[in-house]
């Protein structure tokens, strides 16, 4: 990917979509590397309630209330950055969308859910 991307406006808080077109979380925070030696780069996308801790006062509060886990998605898994961030693999392989997977077990109890 050689296009110019604004991390603040173009990546952070954007929708993640897996290789099958399933929505599977937001870019809740970013993990940077190489800041100390002057060559900063995005190492990974952080997804999940624990990642909200770095997102302001309300974020800290929400992270504490939600007590969710955090998934780290290496930047190499990002296929494209458009309106959404397209991922190279299925959500389940990246351990994303697990909240929806859990909720599905409940919803499937109701007749006609599929």
């Amino acid at each position: 990917m050689s296009k110019e991307i604004d991390l603040g406006l173009g990546v952070l808080d954007h929708q993640l979509v897996d290789s099958e077109g399933r929505r599977c979380g937001k870019v809740d925070d970013l993990e940077l590397e190489g800041v100390a030696d002057g060559r900063p780069a995005v190492a990974a996308i952080l997804v999940g309630a624990s990642a909200w801790r770095g997102r302001g006062v309300l974020g800290r509060l929400a992270a504490r209330l939600a007590r969710g886990r955090m998934t780290r998605v290496p930047w190499q898994e990002v296929a494209d950055v458009e309106a959404t961030l397209k991922l190279r693999r299925k959500a389940s392989e990246l351990r994303l969308g697990r909240g929806d997977d859990r909720a599905r077990r409940i919803v499937e109890w109701i007749p006609g859910a599929r």
């Binding site: 604004d6 954007h14 929708q15 974020g59 309106a83 919803v107």
Partner: protein, 408 residues
């Protein structure tokens, strides 16, 4: 030709879908209190919703983003979360008011006890959403909501003083209590520009996969659909000004609104009015219910969509199910739906800037919108309305308290 027909059908559904319990309550009460003098506010409100719906639809078609994607991307997590909480509270109050309104409408039609009908209303709404494809829901409630056009006929039959009606489209110095007048100005703006309308509109546009090719459809939908919806609002106010004001009737009950069609048109008028109210309010209940689920899903990144099966978007599904159950709970406490509506409309005014500011920002961003960024006209209107909304948002709650909800 088939396309044209589809556009026409969509617009018809939009007209029926515009009027909800907030419009019914505020337009009729304003007409009963101030006659035709507040008609101009309806026009301002309707132009506002047209401007921002068009912008939302354009952002959805070009950038592929519904409102709460834009809210979070533009305002960040913390401020975005505040916007989410505010909009969820307001949305839920509106939903509860609509469910209560539907129960009252059913009660007026059937004479059965209110609590039973509240249960019936919530179950029916849940079942309709669960079973029917979305397009059918939209059309069923939209078309049946058109029964409200009976109020336009009623307004004409009541022979209003048309020159006084015409004067009402120009702001004039308020008679009587200025604060109450100001309260109604704000309520009417809030009722016309209710935020769930744009959440629902933009999410629908994303779901239908709009592209820049659909921008003509977007403009037609916003302009004609909401424009004619505004026509219904005007009819309600003129009816109230011609019937309730001279007779000193204060329409504090939803049933009184239906009276406005019964007096000039008899039983058939009453029946059409009640049917129209039930379907308009029921349709709005479904819209608000979905909006609540859309906003949550879009903020947190869950899978969402009415065109997916319920199991494919499970948290989205659970969200709207829970919202209906909670709304039923609120209705069952016996809280007066008309009073709840007034609170919902006034509080929604406070949440408006947090909804409309991010949309305006995104619609102006070339990185998102390319050559479809706001033109000068859209920006002029957008900025003016944002200022109006800010003023209104700051004054809404003080006015509500000072005027004892418009009762002086």
């Amino acid at each position: 030709m088939k396309n044209l027909l589809q556009v026409a059908l969509g617009i018809l559904a939009a007209i029926g879908g515009f009027v909800d319990i907030g419009d019914l309550v505020f337009n009729v009460q304003a007409g009963a209190a101030f006659g035709y003098r507040l008609l101009w506010v309806v026009v301002i409100g309707v132009v506002g919703i047209i401007v921002y719906s068009e912008m939302c639809g354009r952002v959805a078609a070009v950038a592929g983003r519904p409102v709460f994607d834009a809210v979070r991307e533009r305002l960040g997590f913390s401020v975005g979360l505040s916007a989410l909480i505010a909009s969820e509270i307001v949305n839920f109050m509106t939903l509860a008011a609509e469910v209560g309104g539907l129960a009252i409408g059913l009660q007026l039609l059937s004479g059965l006890p209110f609590h039973l009908l509240a249960l019936v209303a919530a179950l029916a709404l849940g079942l309709v959403i669960w079973v029917l494809p979305f397009e059918w829901i939209e059309r069923l409630f939209g078309y049946m909501g058109l029964c409200l056009l009976v109020f336009a006929v009623a307004a004409i039959k009541l022979h209003p003083d048309w020159s006084a009606v015409a004067d009402g489209f120009v702001p004039s110095s308020p008679p009587g209590d200025r604060l109450v007048y100001a309260y109604f100005v704000i309520g009417l703006l809030g009722a016309a520009m209710t935020p769930y309308e744009v959440y629902f509109y933009s999410s629908g546009a994303v779901e239908e996969g709009w592209t820049p090719k659909d921008l003509g459809l977007n403009r037609a939908n916003a302009l004609i659909g909401y424009g004619l919806g505004g026509f219904l609002s005007l009819s309600l106010m003129i009816m109230a000004g011609a019937l309730f004001l001279p007779n000193g009737i204060e329409p504090e009950l939803l049933g009184t609104v239906a009276l406005g069609a019964q007096v000039p048109l008899g039983t058939i008028g009453l029946l059409l009015a009640l049917l129209g109210i039930c379907f308009a309010v029921g349709g709005a209940a479904i819209d608000t219910c979905f909006s609540g689920a859309y906003n949550l899903a879009q903020f947190f990144g869950w899978e969402w969509g009415k065109n997916r099966t319920h199991a494919e978007a499970p948290r989205f599904t659970l969200a709207w199910l829970v919202l209906i159950v909670l709304a039923l709970g609120v209705t069952m406490t016996g809280i007066d739906p008309v009073m709840l509506t007034e609170y919902a409309v006034i509080f929604s005014v406070v949440a408006l800037p947090l909804t409309y500011l991010p949309i305006l920002l995104v619609a102006n961003d070339r990185a998102y919108m390319g050559r479809y960024v706001n033109g000068r006209v859209a920006n002029a209107f957008g900025v003016v309305y944002l200022l109006v909304i800010l003023v209104v948002a700051v004054t809404a709650i003080p006015l509500m308290l000072l005027t004892n909800q418009g009762q002086g």
